[in-house]
Amino acid sequence: MKPELHPIDDIQAALDGEGDNLPESDVPPHTPLLEVRGLGKRYGGVTALQGINATVNSGEVTCVLGDNGAGKSTLIKILSGVVSYDQGQYLVAGKRVKFSSPRQALDRGIATVFQDLAVVPLMSIWRNFFLGSEPTRGFWPFRRLDVEHAQDVTVAELARFGLDVQDPHQPVGTLSGGERQCVAIARAVYFGARVLILDEPTASLGVKQAGMVIRHVVQARERGLGVIFITHNPRHAYPVGDRFIMLNHGAMVANVTREDIDLNDLTQLMSGGADLDELAHEVQEHHRGPAGAWKPG
């Protein structure tokens, strides 16, 4: 079953006909994978995050929206095991967890693709794909990388995401920004991630590249993953999101499903509604005033 997609600009075009060739996940759709209750974090005397309640289900995309400094990155760091929380609960598959490293989160099926930190640019595509989980064969001290297997898997897995890699030895640095994100996403999916956290994957990309990344988000969802998509761009979030969590000053200001909201409301909410109205009003005031008012001095 494919959820209906709302037409938004070029991104819609990129979404058409995707995800049909991907296998079903072993987790039934809409099963809770990860849950936080009253989650909070303080840095010294500063509250970075408080009172976050959210559930991430399989086969759904949960978008986390908020302006810079809203607490998005703190939330992501907690979920991915980079930092620990000090209030509330964090449950994975119903069990309370407190991670002390990204490795522990990975072992529980929570993979994170950090903005700008997705790959090692000077290393080849296949080395990046298997970095941290390299396949080996033989016995110590003759244990060595299974290079052929690694290269074959890399080419095959990227092909499933629609990327045709001719030469797995190509340095990742020569790929486009969207393609690099794709390598990181395909890697997380291949290594059995149940939850995929994408930290601002479209932030520094152009429209076409962003469309490509969003297509991969849909593909990951079609494969039954619970996707957490962090962005400050509601136009990127809305076409793929099933649920939208809005953060502002470290607190959760909204947690709504797609049925409850349309793009305009989302944009409005996102940019701190009232502030934007005020700004629009001020701009109008300026236009109405005498031309001389614009002159400096």
Partner: protein, 348 residues
């Protein structure tokens, strides 16, 4: 498979062709440099292209090569070790003092010396990874500390700045066979250190390109934060690399103490820069993430050929550092350009 999915599969942004990529390998410049230098001295001097001449060059190159390979691994991992040169003296002194003062078997002395080296390497590594200070500063500290200990302890125990009598130790003959024997081919005396160098270079190459740990070395130096986020133990990798350079320093210190049967407390000073120079000439990037053991070996070979070539040509040896400085600058420039072309010309 539907038509839509087939048509949706797009080729990735193409990289450089494999041929162009081979041409942009950082070792290439050093290989060309080595060939040019070898050809120059072979035609300009009578001794260079003889068995004795080659043995002479390789004698200088071998111990430098062992260190350059280990330092290259560390540099690929993104760190420096300025204490490596002085540590070659420290390890030799540990062996010599144990043998001379306590009369232990030389193999026992060599084993304690290895333990000492591993401890120094571990301390360097833990200090760098825990404090997050630049390794340049941390190992500069170790460098001075070891330098002080070398001379201080030696003077305390022997009233001189030299420890000798290693050849009187039990087991010396066997140690000499392993660390300091030589084979005569033609009229050249080829040292066993050359074999050690080749073994170290081959093992390091296999480690780098064919093992999990090698992958982690490149990632730890190339993009430590990315590496950490996919579960690479960056700190542990770096600590092990510092222990590797320390182990190489132990090997070179042992080769030297067994061969000379004595150690001066102040040897090894300044050598650390030669290791780094050889690694950089061989294509190691100062910022980490790029380099090779073969390149570092060729860098050491360039050093050795030039040093001995100048002697053979009967030039004034004082000019050697000028050549070294020029070579280093050229290598850094070439490496930077090559790497920039390799990874940063991507669109979007």
């Amino acid at each position: 498979m539907t038509a839509a999915t087939t048509s949706a599969r797009v080729p990735v942004t193409p990289g450089r062709s494999p041929v162009l990529r081979a041409l942009s390998r950082p070792e290439l410049g050093s290989v060309i440099g080595a060939v040019v230098i070898a050809a120059f001295f072979a035609t300009q001097t009578d001794q260079f292209a003889t068995s004795a001449g080659i043995a002479n060059v390789l004698d200088v190159t071998a111990t430098l090569g062992i260190m350059a390979v280990a330092v290259a691994l560390l540099m690929i991992g993104g760190e420096f070790d300025l204490s490596a040169g002085v540590l070659t003296a420290s390890t030799g002194l540990v062996t010599a003092l144990l043998v001379d003062q306590l009369g232990v078997n030389i193999w026992e002395g060599i084993a304690w010396s290895l333990l000492f080296a591993l401890t120094v390497g571990f301390l360097n590594g833990i200090l760098v990874t825990r404090t997050r200070l630049p390794s340049f500063i941390v190992t500069l500290g170790t460098f001075f500390a070891l330098q002080g200990v070398n001379v201080g302890v030696t003077k305390q125990l022997t009233d001189t700045v030299q420890v000798g009598g290693v050849d009187d130790a039990q087991g010396y003959a066997a140690a000499r066979a392993v660390f300091a024997s030589a084979a005569t081919i033609g009229d050249g005396e080829f040292r066993v250190a050359i074999l050690w160098w080749i073994v170290v270079a081959v093992l390091a190459t296999l480690l780098l390109v064919r093992t999990k740990f090698g992958n982690w070395i490149f990632a730890s130096g190339g993009a430590p934060a990315s590496a950490r986020s996919v579960g690479v133990p960056v700190g542990r990798t770096k600590i092990l690399l510092f222990m590797t350079t320390a182990t190489a320093a132990w090997l070179v210190g042992t080769i030297s103490v067994v061969r000379l049967t004595s150690v001066q407390a102040n040897v090894g000073l300044g050598e650390e820069f030669n290791y780094i120079i050889a690694a950089v000439i061989g294509g190691c990037l100062l910022t980490g993430g790029v380099g090779s053991a073969i390149g570092a070996s060729i860098g050491a070979l360039i050093y050795g050929m030039t040093q001995q070539g100048i002697v053979f040509a009967q030039w004034d040896n004082d000019w050697f550092p000028l050549f070294l400085g020029g070579m280093l600058l050229a290598a850094v420039l070439i490496n930077t350009v090559v790497v920039r072309r390799r990874a940063e010309d991507s669109p979007g």
